[in-house]
Symmetry: C2
Subunit: 350 residues, 2 copies
């Protein structure tokens, strides 16, 4: 099931991803991970499917280059496939947009990114609409007999890692809210931004506009251990779309464990630290709650040889929810109390 | 590739289905049929995929019951699967809607219809939006070694059949434009409608709101002939979403043939004939150009044992485009000239 920035503010039932997933489960739909798996019993190779939308005024500003809209759509879906450890193969795309929207540039951007990431566009649909909304269904495959990565395999004693820096996309979003724009590869920065911050700001805006899913790492994590190690439990993984806290909480819930996260070890994005004063934000808070980083959070069993990428940020414990540690001290309550967004307090349950 | 009522009026490139498909082909995407096929070489059973959207103010009025929106979404996608001769198996659904939209009723309706048609909902995504837009990606399968039905297999000498009455959905749409409403199973009719037309009107409105795709016929048409007949060419098929003329023209183009259609044999819907005076329409014109009937148009080779369903309406000839016959006389030009919509003249090319 996909997830949406900003949905927390909406009160209607089923808008929030977690509520939606719970509702589907109550109605017999095997929901949970952001991807669905068609198993090898029915098809020689397992298929992994995901679908995610990008909407004007929700996920991108009205004047965003259609080329970038299309490529962002590809990337957020690929991020889901990466979290399932599958190889991108096929895509179907729906575009609904006003008559004056540059559809040709959208689909040219889409095809360019599909080629880059190994996706074949095999279907689509266009329609006229008042608001631009684009949906991609992406399909990946898994070699015969291989299971997809899921969120539910973390066990006490596992290490917890994150494969990329945190909070940079959130900084990029703030910069766009301050006036930064992205068009045809160029980033226009907000007026008044100190010259020394230009490089960091461009990087943050690009990181938000065009995330780079870690498909290779997903494939590596899903690879079975060598024959002497068959039967061993694999990693659990989730891609960070809604921020470390929220997505870590989902992984903890799916696995039935508690995740202890050492705040001193978080890979806070360097550009976020540089921009913090200008943006008037606390880097740690953005690293914890800023969404759309699209990096993988994953657990590794003790006997697992480890991944080539990833910063260890904590461990998997008995219990439920999250435990935030700084300087060896449990700071869960005080950190969650400081976070500006509502709704974080329930993450510490258990 | 999907198709949209009303897109003819939109001038932007790539909004029109045929232009979109041409553009995709020019860019190396194997587009053409409304479904994509993942062949048996890669998976033991072939998979057929399609995706189609339903948008507020484009495909349904703003006040339509969310239950019906969801089920119409299921049906239009199933119609594409039926035209490919595949068995419905899985679906992924995206819903974008304003906060006050009744998502729970939408998904309850969706799940009810998925169950009815043998679809398992395996993924989805919700987001907030100004305009309700819903997208379904439906996946069907084919038994091992079986090829999907396509539009390109009609050959001169084949019979041409249509499996259902024509023009009733278009009458239903006109009734809704005149004030008919559908909610929780009940149809409210326009004020001033003669009492004697109530049953026909309700039937037409329901036919428009909730089409009944002919999945069983699609499966039957895709079944290989008995062993003594292997290697024989199968039927060609398309579902009628944009009206007989437009979709017949597509089938003719894909197969490289001319379709001769006998207007005297068209199964014009009885309710359309009854409502014609009230609606001030010519039944034949609506049978030819009224969209959203979602019945199958198909060709049968001479040696083919035939289908259990279907009215023979003409034959496949050498040439291209369409030839309309009435009383044994070619009336193509005069009929197309009478049709109220622009753009029909090109259907008689060749």
């Amino acid at each position: 099931m996909g997830r949406r920035r900003g949905d927390d503010a909406v009160v209607s039932t089923l808008v929030d991803e977690d509520t939606f997933v719970d509702w589907l489960r109550d109605h017999g739909v095997p929901a949970g991970d952001d991807t669905a798996f068609l198993a090898a019993g029915e098809h020689r190779a397992g298929l992994v499917l995901t679908t995610d939308s990008q909407l004007e005024s929700v996920h991108f500003p009205e004047d965003l280059d259609p080329w970038l809209i299309a490529q962002r759509l590809v990337r957020v879906n690929l991020s889901d496939l990466s979290a399932a450890g599958s190889r991108p193969r096929w895509a179907l795309c729906n575009l609904n947009a006003p008559p004056d929207f540059d559809r040709e540039r959208f689909f040219a951007g889409l095809l360019a990114d599909c080629r880059r990431w190994g996706l074949s566009l095999i279907g689509g649909d266009t329609s006229s609409a008042r608001q631009v909304s684009s949906t991609l269904t992406a399909i990946g495959d898994l070699p015969q007999g291989r299971r997809p990565l899921t969120r539910d395999r973390a066990r006490p004693g596992d290490r917890l890692l994150v494969a990329g820096s945190l909070g940079e996309a959130a900084a990029g979003l703030l910069l766009q809210q301050a006036g930064a724009r992205c068009h045809r590869g160029a980033v226009e920065l907000p007026e008044g931004l100190p010259q020394g911050l230009a490089a960091a700001a461009r990087r943050a805006v690009r990181r938000h506009r065009l995330p780079v899913p870690d498909v290779e790492l997903g494939l590596e994590l899903a690879r079975p251990l060598s024959s002497g190690r068959t039967g061993r439990r694999g990693p659990a993984a989730i891609d960070l779309s809604d921020g470390l806290l929220k997505d870590a909480h989902r992984l903890a819930g799916a696995s039935g464990v508690r995740l202890r996260i050492d705040l001193d070890r978080l890979p806070v994005a360097a550009s976020l630290r540089r921009l913090a004063q200008y943006l008037e934000v606390t880097p740690l808070h953005h690293a914890l709650s800023g969404g759309e980083d699209y990096v993988l959070l994953f657990s590794l069993p003790p006997e697992h040889p480890g991944a080539t990428a990833g910063q260890e940020i904590g461990e998997v414990c008995v219990g439920s929810g999250l435990e935030l540690v700084r300087g060896g001290r449990d700071v869960t309550t005080e950190v969650l109390d400081q976070l500006p967004r509502l709704g974080w307090d329930h993450l510490a349950d258990g």
